[in-house]
Symmetry: C2
Subunit: 149 residues, 2 copies
DNA sequence: GATGCTATTGCAACATGCTGCAACAACTGC
DNA sequence: GCAGTTGTTGCAGCATGTTGCAATAGCATC
């Protein structure tokens, strides 16, 4: 190969990784993977279903959600919940991180390990709690929205 | 009565506060308030609907949810989203606080302003973001579950 | 390339929550 | 105490996900 750089086509390895676990590579999974490969950042589940339907109108939502579960096991996607409780998926998260959501403009930003370090330390020390960064969700007002009020 | 201790019957004022805003005091709202008055800590929306039905089997879910919206405006309840994205309501929050959820045992704990102070400071300083504590949600493993693995 | 094991699919039904709309009924004012 | 105004209700339907189950179809093996 030699494609081994920052993001060396992780998609190409997915079928093999599935099979290595006794799982299967199906047309429906191929469709979802094709969609994910063109996606960056956050998407909602409904959006993914929608996009799969453009590739294959016969797409069934439950299949998409179940495949996403499998892919989450493989570490290909991550999910969290937005401000409204809707699912948000993350494609190929470079590093574990949480999310900042603005209730004014609905923008979202990442909270990296460094930002959260202090909170993680406090909770570990005071309660022995081990924080899972990927599921950290913080709401509030972003700089712009805060200054507007 | 004579139960007037820490929480001085805030419920008694609700009808007046509604009317002060031109809103109305209806039997359905009375039912929900009766349920909330006996509730402490967190409840899901579905649970509240359920409990209202025991008082009044004719309870309609949409009415409950709409009333909860109104009560949230009045500051009587607060909502957040649990690990699974389901709604969790908080009755009479003594102070703004976030939530810690254990993905092992599904227990939840409060994150008070003090716990979150460092995170709030970091986000304010680095991005000018104003955190809304009541919507802060942190997942991970509690002390017990973490030591089990 | 046929066979068998079993992961996966598709479907239907359910769970939770929101929304539009016509009918109803609290409150206000007379 | 009656009538009008308009906030609320109940209902039906939608949106987003999840789950159970019978039928299908990958894939490993021969």
């Amino acid at each position: 190969m030699g494609e081994t750089q920052a993001a060396p086509e992780p998609w190409a390895e997915v079928p093999a990784r599935l099979r290595a676990r006794g799982l299967r590579w199906t047309p429906q999974r191929r469709t979802l993977l094709a969609v994910l490969a063109e996606t960056r950042g956050h998407v909602t589940g409904a959006e993914l279903v929608e996009r799969c339907r453009t590739l294959d109108p016969a797409t069934i939502p439950s299949t998409v959600y179940r495949t996403l579960d499998v892919l989450e096991d493989l570490g290909i996607v991550r999910h969290a919940h937005g401000l409204d409780g809707r699912e948000e998926f993350h494609v190929l998260p470079a590093a574990d991180h949480g999310h900042l959501s603005c209730s004014g403009c609905h923008g979202t930003w990442d909270v990296d390990a460094d930002d959260a370090a202090a909170l993680v330390a406090v909770l570990a020390e005071r309660r022995g709690f081990r924080v899972d960064l990927s599921h950290l969700s913080v709401a509030g007002l972003c700089k712009g929205c805060a200054s507007e009020r």
